[in-house]
């Protein structure tokens, strides 16, 4: 029983060391990694702007915002979204839209 326990513990130790240490043995592409990180951050920011634009529209439609304020705020948010999209386009190659060929 004790031998079995020792084997289990050694196996756990080996698996843990292999799993945790694996990235150290690989030649991970660090530059590519940080680029991916920046793209992920920008995508999250873009999605947040989209959400805000949609919420603003609901505020307008439910009478909380008048036309003038809504247009101004909507314009600001869209400008921010465009900036984010522009930066995204600079960082990655253009993606072919599947619907474009139809």
């Amino acid at each position: 029983m004790e031998i079995l326990a020792a084997i289990c513990v050694i196996a756990l130790l080996a698996v843990t060391v292999l799993f945790v240490g694996a990235p150290l043995r690989r030649g991970a592409g660090e530059a590519a990694g940080s680029l991916e990180g920046r793209i992920a951050d920008l995508e999250a920011a873009r999605d947040a702007r989209y959400r805000e634009i949609r919420e603003l529209e609901i505020d307008h439609r439910t009478g909380k915002l008048d036309d003038e304020d809504w247009r101004r705020l909507d314009r600001e948010l869209r400008a921010e979204a465009i900036e984010i999209l522009r930066e995204l386009d600079e960082l990655r190659p253009p993606v072919a839209d599947p619907s474009a060929g139809r």
Binding site: L13, A22, E30, A40, I58
Partner: protein, 732 residues
């Protein structure tokens, strides 16, 4: 063998965490991605190792392996299997293991779902989370080892504390701990963001769902605890401002404030110092909550710790480090990284409403914190441990809660940046009229006006409900105008595409219902403590309670006696019409200490009140009974003496069990035949039902808000590409 593997998992987990802290910090400082990834993997490994340890201990509980000390002291063969499963977290050792499992699970999930985002912040957050894991791992290994075993275990365990044998108790600790541990995820990311001075809204967006789920879990845990208190503890209430209850409420309050104020930072880039401070405070309060539950430093009806203050100083040290680090980070970053991008445009804006809401939440939290720690403060200053009771808490919290309920109605209808008074009134006039109408009806048709605070809460609650319903209605109409959908599809479409906003409105609706229930049930509850024998009666709030007859029975589990129930049948009538037949009782669990008498041990262990409840939409009828067993004492003592002589004469095995069963059956029959008067607590309480309904609505709203709306985002991305294609085609 299992214990050895379990212990090895804990030691490996601590070692893994220590390595992970080093690798993450070194990787972040040197910009070495491989070290960062390795540190992240250490977090995943910690989760896997803790899960293995957890499963090993659960199996020991399920199989009643009493070689494990923690199993022998917290479970027994007479404990039903589903309570055996939950018995683990009634112990110090098991609950610390559960804490570590939930924390590592939440942290791993968050780090895994970042998918490359917050690349600079994440390593520091990972290091903070792993640092906390080291604390809990070392605490377990040194102070509360879950895998401590003896070569030969006892034949029977001490059993689970009878008070914890309630379905709520299976989920309540899980939910509380999930709340505490998940709040540490945004806490850790806030620390990381402050360290790298990247305090834009991205760390908030990436961890918001964890803060929301933490808030939801903690809220659910609090309400399950309240339900348990109501139906199990035998005093008739669901909230007693008990230190452990308060400990769970504190991070919930600051977490609620945080969930509101982060919207301002996401929208306007404002309140960065405040948001960082709030989530850092919430993290510290989550640890404080764990500390209060597990240290036994304050007397509580919810604490089941026997170990005393052995781990108290370790927690105090951790909390001191967390507070000092948090203050240092906020103070050193306040002038540059934490500066606001914008200013408050108007007091008639949602930002201003959120700011006020935050101040109120923090004020309530401060009152609760002060009242909770007052016994320790007074002991330090005067040498006497003086506690403050519910009236003290009510005096300060009720006005603040009133304003919060009112604000929960005003906030959703104010626009961001600024609104005009006339526009605000246009949005408010419907709910205000509805609330005023409710107030007038309540004043004339009920006795609600006799309690001004409750009356105000009813009116403000009606106002908040009116606003929430109006917002759902307006949103649905707006969607119908855009899509020509029918009402129900339009409403579900509206909610599913704007989960955060409408989930929030549903939460407000639930909170209003919940507080209406609390106001009614606490202000208009009628309680009477009476002593009644068979044939006697008492009247409470127009309801007549007749003691019809006594009940007495022996409950068995797995062929062994689990408890003896002594109680009564009570008939409840109103104006001669029968409302309910209720059967309250008290369960007596045997004392497992070897020195107690053969018969008396069945009455000298723990006893729990099995309350009888007739719950209704508008009124609960609640009875708890404490039978007087002093009349049985001479018989019990005589039985002890008889068995003592029989034991000396060598009576044992099957024959002893048969005689003992006969003696106990005779005792219960004697109680049934000649019952002494029993002490009853009779309660008629209005609207308690709505406390639970309100909680469920809050839970549903929280779930809606927390549910990720990936579909909507995909639609928008697709729409954007479509627009780009259209533009390109136009140019061509």
């Amino acid at each position: 063998m299992a214990a050895t593997v379990g212990q090895a998992c804990l030691i490996l987990g601590v070692a893994c965490s220590a390595y992970g802290v080093g690798a993450s910090l070194l990787g972040a400082r040197r910009g070495n991605e491989r070290l960062v990834v390795s540190g992240r993997r250490a977090l995943y490994a910690l989760f896997a190792l803790t899960l293995v340890a957890f499963v090993i201990l659960e199996v020991a509980f399920l199989t009643s392996d009493f070689r494990f000390t923690v199993v022998a002291t917290h479970s027994s063969t007479t404990t039903p299997w589903f309570y055996r499963l939950a018995a683990m977290w009634s112990s110090q050792e098991g609950s610390l293991l559960l804490w570590l499992l939930l924390m590592s699970a939440g942290a791993s999930l968050c780090v895994a779902t970042l998918r490359g985002r917050l690349r600079d912040v994440a390593p520091y957050a990972t290091a903070v989370l792993l640092g906390l894991a080291i604390f809990f791992g070392v605490l377990m290994l040194l102070s509360a080892p879950p895998f401590k075993t003896v070569p030969v275990g006892p034949a029977e365990g001490f059993g689970l504390n009878p008070l914890l044998r309630h379905p709520s108790m299976m989920i309540h600790p899980l939910m509380l701990y999930a709340g505490y541990t998940l709040f540490l995820v945004p806490f850790a990311f806030a620390v990381g963001a402050l360290i790298v001075r990247r305090v834009d809204a991205e760390w908030i967006r990436s961890t918001r769902v964890f803060a929301l789920v933490a808030w939801l879990a903690l809220g659910a845990g609090i309400m399950l605890g309240a339900r348990w208190s109501y139906v199990e503890l035998g005093w008739g209430g669901y909230w007693a401002w008990d230190p452990v209850e308060n400990a769970s409420l504190l991070p919930w309050l600051t977490g609620t404030a945080f969930l509101h104020s982060v919207m301002i930072q996401e929208r306007r880039g404002m309140m960065k110092v405040w948001n960082a401070s709030l989530i850092l405070a919430t993290g510290v309060l989550a640890i404080l909550g764990t500390f209060l539950v597990r240290s036994g430093i304050l007397d509580s009806i919810h604490s089941f710790v026997q170990e005393g203050n052995t781990i108290a100083w370790a927690f105090v040290a951790l909390i001191a480090v967390m507070i000092a680090s948090s203050v240092y980070l906020v103070v050193t970053r306040r002038n540059n990284a934490l500066r606001s991008d914008a200013r408050l445009d108007s007091i008639f804006s949602r930002e201003a409403a959120f700011l006020l809401n935050n101040i109120l939440f923090v004020a309530v939290a401060f009152v609760v914190l002060w009242g909770t720690f007052f016994p320790l403060i007074s002991e330090a200053v005067t040498g006497n441990k003086a506690a403050v009771g519910p009236p003290w808490f009510d005096r300060y919290t009720v006005p603040l809660v009133l304003l919060l309920v009112l604000l929960s109605g005003i906030g959703p209808v104010i626009a961001w940046r600024k609104t005009t008074v006339s526009r605000l009134w246009r949005s408010l006039r419907g709910p205000v009229t509805f609330a005023a109408l409710c107030g007038v009806l309540l004043a004339f048709l009920t006795t609600a006006a006799s309690s001004p605070a409750s009356m105000a809460l009813f009116v403000f609650g009606a106002f908040a409900i009116g606003v929430s319903v109006q917002e759902l209605w307006r949103g649905m109409r707006a969607r119908q105008a855009m899509t020509s959908e029918r009402a129900l599809p339009a409403l579900t479409g509206l909610i599913s595409r704007n989960r955060r906003r409408y989930g929030g409105f549903i939460v407000h609706l639930g909170i209003a219902v919940l507080f209406i229930g609390i106001a009614a049930s606490s202000a208009f509850q009628d309680v009477r403590d009476v002593r009644m024998g068979p044939g006697e009666s008492a009247v409470v709030d127009g309801y007549r309670f007749d003691y019809v007859r006594p009940t007495a029975q022996i409950e068995e589990a797995g062929g062994k006696l689990e408890r003896i129930d002594l109680g009564s049948v009570v008939r409840v009538t109103r104006d001669g019409r029968e409302v309910a037949i209720l059967e309250p009782s008290r369960g007596y669990y045997p004392n497992m200490a070897p020195m107690t008498g053969a018969v008396s041990r069945f009455f000298e262990g723990e006893s729990t009140s099995e309350i009888a409840l007739k719950a209704g939409f508008f009124r609960d009828i609640w009875i708890a009974e404490s039978p007087d067993i002093s009349s049985l004492t001479p018989v019990i003592e005589k039985g002890d003496a008889v068995f003592e002589r029989a034991d000396r004469a060598g009576l044992g095995g099957e024959a002893r069990s048969v005689f003992l069963a006969g003696a106990l059956t005779g005792l219960t029959a004697r109680y049934r035949d000649a019952p002494p008067p029993a002490q009853f607590r009779l309660i008629v309480s209005p609207m308690v039902f709505w406390v639970w309904v309100g909680s469920l609505i809050v839970f549903a709203g929280g779930l809606i808000a927390a549910w990720p709306s990936l579909g909507a985002v995909r639609d928008l991305v697709r729409a954007r590409y479509a627009a780009r294609v259209a533009q390109d085609l136009k140019r061509a």
